[in-house]
Amino acid sequence: MTATSTPTGPLKAKLSAIVRRREKDATDTGADRGVLSEHDRKRPSVRVSTTAIHVFLFVGLVVAGLGPLLWLAKAAVTPTQDTLTQPFALWPNGIDWANLSQAWNDIHIDQYFLNTIWVAAGSWFFQLLVATTAGYALSILRPRYAPVLNALVLATLFIPAVVLLVPLYLTILHPPVIDVSLLNTYWAVWLPAAANAFNILLMKRFFDGLPREVFEAARTDGAGPLRMFWSIVLPMSKPILGVVSVFAVIAAWKDFLWPLLVLPDPAVQPLSVRLPAVQSQTELDVFLAALAISTLIPVVLFLIFQRLFLRGAGLGGAVKG
């Protein structure tokens, strides 16, 4: 949670107070009421309907949100024929635990999972690196040519990723300066992911809102640009770092087409690319076990870091708005 080096003493207290206030502003401005007033809630018809809403929400969300995952968990340890002929019967012919180990060992879920993490971690790192440094330079250091760069970065937001598909692919094959194809290396995924104008925009907007007085003070105090970046700006930016991180990791996790193109070698492919490829070579029960394992880890991560995810998603929406 804490950056490695933060200002100490009263300054720190002041900073964290600012940050806390901003976080608070972002999350709970509304009071504890919605459409229904306390008076409404006491009306019998409303009470009946709120109960009905509860039942509806609970049943609906369990069936739609949890149902498919529970079915997957069941099917993962069910023999193929049972899944095909009686999809909702609970193990009419016993549980087949071997599916899991077969998926793990034969499909090498472990390796592809590691690849996936590797893809996500690198994308996350480079996205944050580019977004924070660029946001800092454009918002706080603000050289004279900053507006031009800012416009150039913003302009890319209007150009959908699909335009880049072919030329970017060719760039990966023949990158400038270094004459080595990046095909089948993670650089081919990480670096293009880092060219994300939305991240820079988010960062810059956030930095723009930081109180200038702090920087002036630090500058007066002799803090160089690097120290100011590392010890003042970054620690003050935890909320936005969190949002960009969640976006970065989710995007990397979801990406399919791009890694499919630039990582043709199965040894380096993430799960998202590998699973469709092995589908037709794999028996259904083992394949479902592989899907279940691939789902389990993100779901567990979500359940552990639920608040972060949901806040990131909500905040993301708010910031997007």
Binding site: P10, P68, P87, V130, P167
Partner: protein, 333 residues
Amino acid sequence: MTLTSEADAAAEADPRHPSPEPAGARAAMPTRRRRQRTPMTWIRGGGAWNLAFLAPMLIVFGVFSWGPIAQAVIMSFQKTNLITPATWVGLDNFARVLADPNLGTAVLNTLYFAVLALIFGFPLPIIMAVLMSEVKRGKGLYSALAYLPVVVPPVVAVLLWKVFYNASPDGVFNTILGWAGIPPQPWLQSSATAMPSLVIEATWAAAGGSIIIYLAALIAVPPELYDAAEVDGAGIWRKIWHVTLPQLRGILFIMLILQVIGTAQVFLEPFLFTGGGPNNATLTVLLLIYRYAFQNSLGGDYGEATALSLMLAIFLGLLSWLYFKLTDRWSTN
């Protein structure tokens, strides 16, 4: 004012706080603009630092964004197969794309997907969010349940739903339909039902994210507005109609545009579920671009692919521009 002096004092008071040549730094700043610009003043004015901080962005954007965008424009006027040198062909690529009978199919299919996604996918999260915001207990649980499908990796979700869509009477969904006495449906196996099947899965996969965003927006609705409406004697439905929805107008419109931008680039579902079939019933614009560029084993038609990309880009660029206009207005309000 106070903050400055406090922070200043705090920094001064901190013995561990290094302050190399503070006098010089202080003196340099106010005079910087008036001096003649030389490399030395540039460096001392922080020019090198500026560049150092901009370097990652400049490199990454230069090589992987600005460069390829320029290249895309050039390539759309060229014929190249990566084997023989590229030749200029003027507007040929555009003409060929426009003459391709598949283009009409792809555009119509993409529109069909977008419309279906709006019908299935747009109102549902709003209704769910409004309902969820009204329950006092269990909101956390409901949010988590609603968000669960978003956490499932999209490729896994598609592959799992492909199993659900098994068209035999013993398929997962057909079994459920069977309980209700509905005959088995062909799902992905029929030109007529394939596209709706894709949209249902896409809606399932995306609704949770929208619900969470709407929930956040609902919290921001000022409670005084409800109080005021009640003073005017408004009932529950009128409060929703006259307070909640108008207050959500901004975010609703933004989500709408985002969804249109997203659906115009739909690829994963048709690619993994049906490969564009049966008989091109789910061929989308992006899938067509992919086919131009990467389907043909003996050298893709990169010119046509970039030409179609550019045409799609212009359409999406207009939408994005609209989106930014609106978000700017919305966030300054």
